[in-house]
């Protein structure tokens, strides 16, 4: 699309807004793009884009994957345009492009990595043509926006161009089917000891064949619909991976067998979920042309973003905050499962209220899709539920089979630390929503103070 006067005016006004926000010390990630699109609805189509555009979408893991991609590419000499500072909807991507554009909309950077909200695919891909599109996975998410996986995959399918190179998850029978005629590479995580043959989760969105509706047999199920499967009544089956990670948890590495030999990468954490993120990045960057050595060198000193995970220690008790996206039952279930598998005696503070609903009433349907049953484990000595919807959590935890004596329920989050046992506990997990960073920090500090006050130790 050509640049016109309307576009130039929108660009200048949005650039001025960006400058003003910077002068005021505000985050300039979303607002300028919103103005630009308001003034010029096809702004994204008219502004120049870098020569190479990589997009990352999917229900879970897209932010972590994007952060890793930016780090690895940055360390290997690429100056990468990105929307890391904020929004992954059309206005966020517009802001990112505005920040890099000259006064006449010319782009300076050669490569971009954009995180794309699945629901915004139609608005974004109509104007931004990705050379490579990664989809980490597709699960149920917010019911108000994303409805169900069949809907969200149809949106992405419709929106993505036919010549985009796809990087897809072979273990996800939903997202692996996207854009079947496009060129593609599949990533996977090899069968693990913890995999089963029956789904242990409440949600499994592939209980019948997506192609013929027939009966599905899983060779293994990892969680929800993730695993290796085939239909007993038609030819539908999991695709064979091009990049399959084989983790060695003790050694702290994973290997990938390719046509060129065996590649070895350091693991950032002994977690299957983060291994998925890492193999996603490997699949994209190896396809893009980066060497295994360069990727491995970057992985060696990376860590998970601190806003999502922090760990402090007091008297030998680890106090861990873990961002657990409320409204996203799969993300919550993954964290609950992770906590259950962690060694030692654990206590859990569940403070998952979405702050944006504080003045109203939060839709709680997701609470009943999330596997709180994983917290019903001998190694978990106490669960403290808190927040506006505490009675719903209390009910859900009881329905999960957790004994009443293990539960404490308080409306005010700041009362949670006093409800913990602490003495003899190895780890306290504070599970919080993205919207409550300040409250989370106060609760964490409260737990540390309580340990000190009581002289508790592991």
């Amino acid at each position: 699309m050509k640049k016109n006067l309307r576009f130039i005016i929108a660009l200048w006004i949005s650039k001025a807004a960006m400058l003003l926000q910077k002068l005021l010390g505000m985050n300039a990630s979303y607002f300028p793009g919103k103005i630009a699109i308001k003034l010029c609805p096809d702004f994204l189509g008219r502004i120049d884009k870098p020569e190479t555009v990589i997009t990352v979408t999917g229900t879970n893991g897209k932010t972590t994957c994007c952060n890793m991609l930016l780090d690895v590419l940055g360390e290997n000499g690429f100056d990468v345009l990105n929307n890391k500072a904020g929004s992954n909807v059309d206005a966020g991507i517009a802001s990112s492009l505005i920040s890099d554009a000259s006064l006449f909309g010319r782009v300076k950077k050669k490569i971009a990595v954009f995180e794309v909200d699945e629901r915004s695919s139609l608005k974004i891909y109509a104007y931004v043509h990705p050379d490579y599109a990664v989809c980490t996975n597709l699960f149920r998410d917010s019911i108000g926006r994303n409805a169900h996986t069949e809907f969200i995959s149809s949106i992405i399918e419709k929106a993505l161009p036919d010549d985009t190179f796809m990087i897809l998850n072979a273990d996800d029978p939903i997202s692996s089917q996207l854009k079947p005629d496009n060129k593609r590479k599949y990533f996977s995580l090899a069968r693990l000891d913890s995999d089963g043959t029956e789904c242990r989760n409440i949600i499994n969105d592939v209980r019948c064949c997506p192609k013929c509706g027939g009966k599905i047999e899983y060779e293994f199920v990892r969680y929800h619909h993730i695993g290796k499967m085939h239909c007993t009544e038609c030819d539908f089956k999991s695709p064979e991976p091009d990049f399959c990670a084989v983790p060695d948890w003790d050694k702290g590495t994973f290997t990938v067998q390719t046509a060129d030999g065996v590649e070895e990468y350091p693991l950032m954490s002994a977690s299957k979920f983060n291994t998925y993120n890492q193999i996603t990045v490997v699949a994209l960057l190896r396809t893009f042309g980066l060497s295994a050595e360069a990727i491995a060198a970057s992985f060696a000193h990376m860590s998970i973003v601190k806003s999502r995970y922090t760990k402090l220690e007091k008297n030998g008790i680890e106090v861990i905050t873990n961002m657990t996206k409320g409204q996203n039952p799969v993300a919550c279930s993954i964290v609950f499962d992770y906590i259950r598998e962690e060694e030692g005696t654990k206590e859990v503070v569940v403070m998952l209220d979405d702050k944006t609903y504080r003045e109203t009433t939060e839709i709680v349907t997701w609470v009943f899709d999330a596997d709180f049953e994983f917290l019903n484990d001998e190694s978990i000595s106490r669960v403290v539920a808190c927040g506006v919807r505490v009675h719903d959590y209390h009910l859900r935890l009881l329905l999960a089979g957790i004994p009443e004596e293990k539960l404490r329920c308080v409306e005010n989050e700041q009362d949670a630390p006093s409800q913990l046992i602490l003495d003899g506990t190895d780890k306290v997990f504070i599970l919080h929503d993205l919207t409550t960073p300040d409250e989370t920090k106060r609760v964490r500090d409260g737990v540390l103070a309580e340990i000190e006050k009581r002289g508790a130790s592991k």
Partner: protein
Amino acid sequence: MKIEVLFPEAANLFGDCWNYRYLKECMPEAELIETSFGDTPAFADGDVSLIYMGAMPESAQERAIKKLMPYRERIVELVENGTVFLMTANAGEVFCKYIENEDGTRVEALGLFNLYAKRDMMHRHNSTVLGKLDNHFMDMDIVGFKAEFSQLHGLDTDVEALAQLSYGTGRNSETKVEGVKINNFFSTSIVGPFLLMNPLFVKYLMELIGVENPKLKHEEIIMAAYEKRLKDIKKMAGK
């Protein structure tokens, strides 16, 4: 006492499975029959106390219609003889006259009542709901949430409602009339664990299927959650 759950492999979105799971918690002696698309429904040639179906993707709705169409007469007979049906979210649309797509094409449905559903896949109607069960059968506050691509429209406005809303969207954005009630056939487009959000309605259903002095599982907690939500939504609605 038999509770039949239709097509749980697909009709299980938004925590809807807890509607029948909770009934089972309250009535441990009840037999839960999960009928898949490949099975013959238990109601086809036997008596069941309650038939439940929950939220599902649009393709599953069409599959459910195909699967149930041969049993249409049997379903009519069951409804007439007072068998309890509970349909939540878009499950009730399977029983309406037809479902109309955006392009005007129609999927003929079971035609149990003279309403039709209209889909608009690019617009999701989200709503918080407050209402009262229709006074004809019980005075009870109903709360819940809606998240829907399709809404019911009237060919015949005499179809009895399940509830009258004072806040939120009813059968469609233009009405406060919510759901459908025909004898003991109850349909609401409220999504998710409707029964967990409305414990008094659970007691009502239990009484209907013959439980004397019904007791709810975790009654004190579920009532506290209900009262709190009711209070919050009333505040939100300015009531």
